[in-house]
């Protein structure tokens, strides 16, 4: 009776956006007369940070400070249509729509500034701190606030923009499955280290080391929360969770969190994450989206680590202690450690 350590690896890719496309999102951007911008969306912030990434995209595109942009979401009377927050589509689809709307609003803002400064709009640039200035002659400048006042009360211009992003719906060939499922993919490789108790069948995850390629990481903190939380969910899927523990037998289903098992804080392991950024050609600033895929490599990596530790393959999820013990029994116990 002993505890055995093992390491396992898994590598994955993940399609961004609804499969086959055909899932549009719209955005509206407008300025009030103080040069403060509102982004109107109907998209949902589930906690993933939709409001924050779209705010950053809008500020970057407009060339104004982040404090001057506020994102208003999830009101069907004010926010234009969005397919929804699923399929890892928020950053990519909604981000692109916001970028398009912000570009249109920026063009009006620069025209209004050009009229005030009596120069050509093509000679102007934003400094990202709330001013618009003449390229090469930064002393000749005007604040975004003054431009907004002038546009509203003197020039009669709306500093506003509309944006939509749509990946056209792909056909599917019924005979071959030929199709365009997605325009870009995120990638990951994850190594899990586990300890398997051959007496109880319990599996403890000791450490995870991963590399995720997500296109441009628009906000590293939001990427971190997704990757950390996603790995926890992956670990939970691998070892703990199901409402039908003896599927397809429907009995013994849990009714609450006392009966539905998930790892607690003490079961969460250190996770060493590295992020790579290969920009998606059609992503907003090259972004893809880490939302769904971050849970996926954890499940097989843990299964493969269990094999490395005790030499058994459990092909049914979740890998409960009962399944590990049954597999060990069928194999007459665990072989000597092959830890790599």
């Amino acid at each position: 009776m002993a505890k055995h350590r093992g390491r396992g690896v898994a590598a994955i890719n993940y399609p961004i956006g609804m499969n086959l496309g055909g899932d549009p999102s719209q955005a509206l951007v407008h300025s009030n007369p103080s040069g403060k911008f509102t982004v109107a969306l109907s998209s949902i912030d589930l906690g993933q940070g939709m409001k924050s990434v779209t705010r950053q995209i809008c500020a970057e595109t407009l060339g104004v400070p982040i404090e001057d942009v506020y994102v208003d979401t999830a009101d069907s009377d004010t926010g234009p249509h969005c397919m929804g927050s699923f399929a890892s589509r928020g950053t990519h689809r909604v981000g692109n729509a916001v970028m398009a709307a912000a570009r249109e609003a920026r063009a009006v803002m620069m025209e209004a500034a050009a009229e005030e400064l009596e120069v050509d709009a093509g000679d102007l640039e934003t400094d990202g701190r709330g001013n618009i200035r003449v390229k090469g002659a930064p002393q000749k400048s005007i604040s975004v606030k003054d431009v907004a006042v002038a546009a509203q009360f003197r020039q009669g211009k709306t500093i506003s923009g509309r944006g939509i992003f749509l990946v056209p719906l792909s056909d599917v060939d019924p005979e071959t499955g030929e199709m365009s499922p997605a325009t870009c993919y995120a990638h990951a490789c994850l190594i899990a280290e586990v300890e398997v108790d051959d007496e109880t069948g319990e599996v403890a995850v000791l450490k995870m080391t991963s590399a995720y390629e997500l296109g441009r990481a628009l906000n590293p903190k939001l990427v971190e929360q997704q990757l950390v939380g996603g790995a926890w969910m992956g670990m939970s899927h691998a070892l703990y969770e199901t409402p039908e523990p003896y599927y397809p037998d429907t009995r013994n289903g849990p009714r609450d969190f006392n009966e539905y098992l998930m790892p607690g804080p003490g079961d969460i392991c250190p996770h060493d994450i590295t992020v790579l950024e290969r920009p998606a050609p059609d992503g907003p600033f090259g972004a893809k989206g880490p939302g769904e895929m971050c849970a996926n490599p954890v499940l097989p990596a843990i299964a493969n680590a269990i094999f490395n530790a005790v030499g058994v393959r459990v092909n049914e999820l979740p890998i409960t202690p009962e399944k590990v013990l049954r597999a060990l029994k069928a194999k007459n116990g665990a072989p000597a450690s092959r830890f790599r």
Binding site: A74, S76, S180, E213, T242, Y260, D272, I273, E292
Partner: protein, 524 residues
């Protein structure tokens, strides 16, 4: 610990940005951490009524009769909602994008097809009154045989679950009971390969387990409109679904959502809004319909179970030459979104690898269990589990290091995928290299020099790599200082032996940026 490797693919990015890439604090974080953010259920209304649902205790039964006379007289009961009250009592979620046929009633009238299927609603002045009145409803059932296993459901003579799809499978393109993927010739490839690994994988259902259960509050507004506060993760999806079921113009509905206590795919199904709106219409009062934890766990749709058979064939040098997959999505009693996931699954069958012969059949199967729905990684999570376990078994069978085996077979820019689109913007190889380096997992120099980019260091068996239509190799881009990016350089004739494991990196390395982390440590 989170580290960025800005050096990799640096030549494809303009990092000179002001707001993008910064760890800006979330716009909504102060509200979240101080408890001030309003979730749907934080809205208060005078005269709020509560909707509770009578659910089937049987997995499959004919409803002979429903006697709700006693419930109607129970204290606090304002209204009973029956199947006949639902204006359009048959819907399928993806009818909004013209995919699939209406197959699911909001309230069952003649047959119940899963344990927990809604039959009747009671609107009362409190949740307790509603629950107590539910206990007074007498339903007489004729239990019917049920089917719970996806392969049993496909056998001739199996119990028919879903009246719209009597053969227990979703219908694709008006003629097939599954989604196909066909590329190359798997059978002749299997005949020629050195190693075959074949296995069966099963993923059980998984509950989304959001902190906030599904729910909504529908409030009568002026001019015949209704304001609906909702936990949905797809505002217009839910609005349009609710409008269809209630036969209302969509502009009579004003949906307000936005701060959601966890979704993970489980809040797309619009489980509560249509009946909450109907109840508000029938009573003229604001009505809340929220799932209890028990309902959420057992009757709120889960990630569906998937059964996946995989057969892979490889050569002794490590190349995978053929893959055959048969997958069954357990959709439960109705379609919801599983039909969509089966198509997504078919496209994903080769995973991130270049395989010249691929054959896939993916079925969306109806059984007498709670309808399944989307969940994080929908259509892909279970397949990735199966494929990556296969990759480990193949590497073991061939005697290759599992990371080198993945790098060898990884797709590169310009490779042809089984769904007949060229791979581009690939980065699997680089992820494998970085993960191996960080975990001190030794891989050989030639594998550390490979690249996802065309014209970069090639695979060791490049001439033997599966041939597929490809773009002309691009000229080698200007490269950077680290091994992964050494494009164009052929592997050194005498590749040095694997380097000893590097010590764990101390502090920043490779010009990488580190961010503090929120990780726990193990208790042991």
């Amino acid at each position: 610990m989170l580290e960025f490797r800005k050096d990799i693919f640096a030549d494809e990015r303009d990092d000179n940005l002001k707001e993008v890439g910064r760890p800006t604090q979330r716009q909504d974080i102060l509200g979240h951490v101080t408890g001030a953010s309003a979730f749907y259920d934080d809205h208060r209304f005078a005269g709020l009524l509560h909707l509770k649902i009578l659910r089937s205790p049987h997995a499959h039964a004919r409803i002979r009769s429903i006697d709700d006379a006693a419930a109607q007289r129970a204290p606090g009961v304002k209204r009973i909602i029956r199947a006949a009250d639902v204006p359009v009592n048959l819907n399928t979620l993806l009818s909004l994008i013209q995919f699939g046929k209406d197959d699911e009633p909001s309230l069952a009238s003649d047959v119940v097809r899963y344990k927990g299927e809604p039959i009747l609603g009671i609107v009362a002045t409190s949740e307790r009154s509603a629950r107590e009145a539910l206990a007074l409803v007498r339903v007489s059932y004729d239990p019917l045989p049920a089917v719970f296993d996806v392969e049993e459901a496909l056998k001739p003579g199996a119990v028919s679950v879903n009246a719209t799809y009597p053969k227990n499978t979703f219908e694709y393109y008006g003629k097939y009971d599954h989604q196909k993927l066909r590329y190359g010739d798997v059978d002749s490839a299997f005949g020629q390969c050195d190693v075959i690994v074949e296995d069966r994988y099963q993923m059980s259902p998984i509950e989304h387990a959001p902190t906030e259960t599904n729910g909504s509050i529908a409030v009568p507004d002026t001019n015949g409109r209704f304001v609906v506060y909702t936990s949905t993760q797809a505002l217009f999806f839910s609005l349009d679904t609710a409008a269809k079921i209630n036969a209302m113009p969509s502009n009579q509905l004003h949906f307000i959502g936005g701060t959601v206590g966890g979704g993970f795919g489980g809040k797309v199904d619009t489980l509560t809004e249509p009946l909450a709106i109907l109840a508000a219409r029938l009573t003229g009062a604001p009505v809340r319909y929220r799932l209890s934890r028990h309902e959420e766990m057992q009757f709120g749709s889960p990630r569906g179970a998937e059964r996946i058979y995989v057969k892979d064939g490889a050569m002794r040098d490590g190349r995978i030459v053929a893959r055959k997959v048969t997958a069954y999505f357990d959709s439960g009693a109705y379609t919801r979104l599983s039909s969509y996931a089966a198509v997504k699954c078919a496209a994903h069958i080769p995973g991130p690898y270049t395989i010249p012969n691929v054959y896939g059949d993916v079925y969306c199967v109806f059984t007498n269990r709670t309808p399944a729905t989307a969940m994080r990684g929908f259509g892909v999570t279970a397949l990735d589990f199966a494929l990556e376990c296969q990759m480990d078994k193949l590497a073991t069978a061939i005697g290759m290091d599992p990371i080198e085996f993945r790098i060898l077979n990884a797709y590169r820019d310009g490779d042809m995928k089984a769904h007949r689109r060229e791979a581009k913007n690939c980065a699997l190889i680089e992820c494998c290299q970085v993960a191996a380096e960080k975990a001190n997992w030794p891989i050989r120099e030639e594998y550390r020099r490979m690249s996802s980019r065309r014209g970069a260091a090639s695979a060791p068996h490049a001439s033997a790599r599966p041939e597929a239509p490809r773009r002309q190799p691009a000229p080698a881009p200007v490269q950077q200082r680290i091994p992964y990016d050494r494009a164009g350089e052929p592997p050194a004739p005498d590749a040095p032996p694997p380097r000893p494991p590097a010590p764990p990196p101390a502090g920043s390395s490779h010009g990488a940026t580190r961010f503090s982390s929120v990780f726990g440590t193990r208790r042991r």
